[in-house]
Symmetry: C2
Subunit: 335 residues, 2 copies
DNA sequence: AGGGCTTTCCAAAACGTTTTGGATGGCGTT
DNA sequence: AACGCCATCCAAAACGTTTTGGAAAGCCCT
């Protein structure tokens, strides 16, 4: 049980020496270090994590807070993200813990419990919003955190994000080059920064190319895309292309298009974002854009560790390019 | 910082009394208890979790080990499952931590680290296999654990599972009632218990109804479903219905059917399992089956807590009914 | 020989909580 | 007045580790 003590006793050494031998201090003679390591291995010794955490004041835990809105939850991205974050953290002996927190008046309570109870060494904030009280609270409390996504929050903080603005700007120009003159955008709720940025890219490119651009905003899931597309398709002048904030919305939109008696890829081109697994297998296959999610997770983990080590958040900001994936839903050129 | 001590000092009480007051022992006069509670609230006191864990020998953590196979990872189910497990655990002051472990020779290392290092109070095992070394190890070590899914493992252990056997049996009879005589089954790798059970249900019903039944096994994702369906459709006599182990496989199969020039729901009926979000928005909408995943998560959490409390695993087994969801891919009756 | 330096080891304190085993004083009972 | 009992409180130990501040012994140099 009391492992370090037992180990020391059987070796005829002090607890101190055993501990230092295991941690690789130069303090210990090479011969004894090897003896200790062998004995520890043989006894299957694993340091008691609670004791080490208490003593060192570190939990060796990084916590990711999930925005657990019932309908919004099922985004395949997050599980891949968690996998890569967890893997990277494990290399450093850290664990990843998960907490669900509903956005709303009590959202900050979850964060306060984490911070005040010292239940974690760093927090990973996802699905950032343009006005985000969480960033304010964490910054004020001086607690290490990393965000996936940007925000209007003015003070410096560590984040990783995809360049959604450029990606959607680029996608519009791509559609324009194919001959589209009337492009609709199915936007996600613009309180979310990612949605705002994608919409901005869309708007900027539309102006630049002198296109007729219409925007409908709805939830970032299949049902939202379905409703938004239905609205756009009920107008007298139909768009010839739909640029959707997410693949889920795009799948919903494809259904609305079919129900209207039109054919995706022939009558209306459509593009999503995320490259979820189902996107490659829809009918027709959905053109989309992809953020390297595994790499993003690794970077988030590394940044969290860096922040725990006291790194300046100013040095920990990263905006990654988004890759365009052409598929059949893009259709042929039309001129 | 040293909060309990500070709190005691400002109150003019001993650490013992403050601690016992906060924990609600009858030991403390009502008046002082209230005084202590008020002061703790005012000071925003949160017990240091590492210290309490060390002293009580409990981590207040439950760990879910994710089978992190790169391609297999993106199953939307898991994120919803984690959300509901985490929520239920939080009600009891427990945290949910996540660890990724690749199946393979080193898989058990992850479990050993958790158990020997006392990093968690209970483990949740998912994606059980018929031969599952993890259940053997955890049972032998006497460590509290709960499984999502069954196994051939002979000793008693706590689990929640869906009744996939009955569900697939029922689905075959449903297809037979619609006039189908030649039904194919796209099976997931039968090392996984869920895949084996679904296949068994399919086989039992096929025999019972005297149907021609063919089975192809492949990975439980879109690509696997695509390959498996392609194989079945390359035969001289085509099946008129495909029963797929998962929705992801079904989406892959639908693509193979389209490429073969056939129409899903008219030429070939198709049924999946899981009711992933994309299923309702495929073309045609995918008939499927659904396990109440939020309820399952809650039960898993409750069982984990019960096992920590020393409950007998024999009393903690639950097999839930799966609900059939009819959609357009089921097609019309054909006689 | 004596002083300083290195190498190797260790006793004890500290982390913040929970729990054990009383101590104290007031009250009622005999 | 002596005794026991109850209500209320507390000092100290314990959990298992890391870290501080040396101690002891051997060596080299003057």
């Amino acid at each position: 049980m009391s492992s370090l003590r037992v180990l020391a006793q059987t070796l005829g050494l002090s607890i101190t020496t055993v501990s230092r031998a295991l941690d690789g201090y130069g303090d210990v003679a090479l011969a004894t270090r090897e003896r200790v390591l062998a004995a520890a291995e043989a006894a299957g010794y694993r340091p008691n994590s609670a004791a080490r955490r208490l003593r060192r004041g570190l939990t060796e835990i990084v916590t990711m807070v999930l925005p657990a809105e019932p309908g919004h939850f099922n985004e395949p991205l997050y599980i891949e993200l968690m996998g890569s974050i967890g893997e990277r953290l494990a290399e450093q002996g850290y664990d990843l813990t998960l907490i669900a927190a509903l956005p709303g008046p009590d959202e900050l309570k979850t964060y306060r419990r984490l911070v005040d109870g010292r239940r974690t060494d760093a927090i990973i904030v996802v699905r950032t919003r343009r006005e985000d009280a969480r960033l304010r609270y964490l910054t004020d409390s001086g607690f290490p955190f990393v965000a996936m996504g940007r925000s209007d929050f003015p003070e410096p903080y560590a984040f990783v994000d995809g360049d959604g603005e450029a990606a959607f700007h680029d996608a519009v120009l791509r559609l324009a080059a194919l001959g589209h003159r009337r492009i609709g955008h199915l936007a996600a709720p613009s309180a979310f920064t990612f949605a705002h940025l994608r919409r901005s890219g869309f708007e900027r490119a539309s102006r630049q190319a002198g296109l007729s651009a219409e925007i409908v905003e709805d939830s970032a899931n299949e049902a939202g895309g379905y409703r938004a597309a239905k609205l756009l398709l009920a107008q007298p002048e139909l768009p010839s292309a739909l640029l959707c904030a997410t693949d889920s919305m795009a799948l919903g939109a494809m259904r609305a298009i079919r129900e209207r008696g039109l054919v995706v890829g022939r009558d209306i081109a459509i593009i999503g974002h995320d490259n979820i697994p189902a996107a490659a297998f829809s009918d027709p296959a959905l053109a989309t854009m992809e953020l390297p999610i595994a790499a993003t997770g690794r970077r988030l983990a590394e940044m969290a560790l860096a922040r725990i080590g006291g790194a300046d958040p100013r040095d920990l900001t990263e905006i990654n390019a988004v890759e365009f994936i052409a598929r059949a839903s893009l259709g042929e050129a039309r001129t």
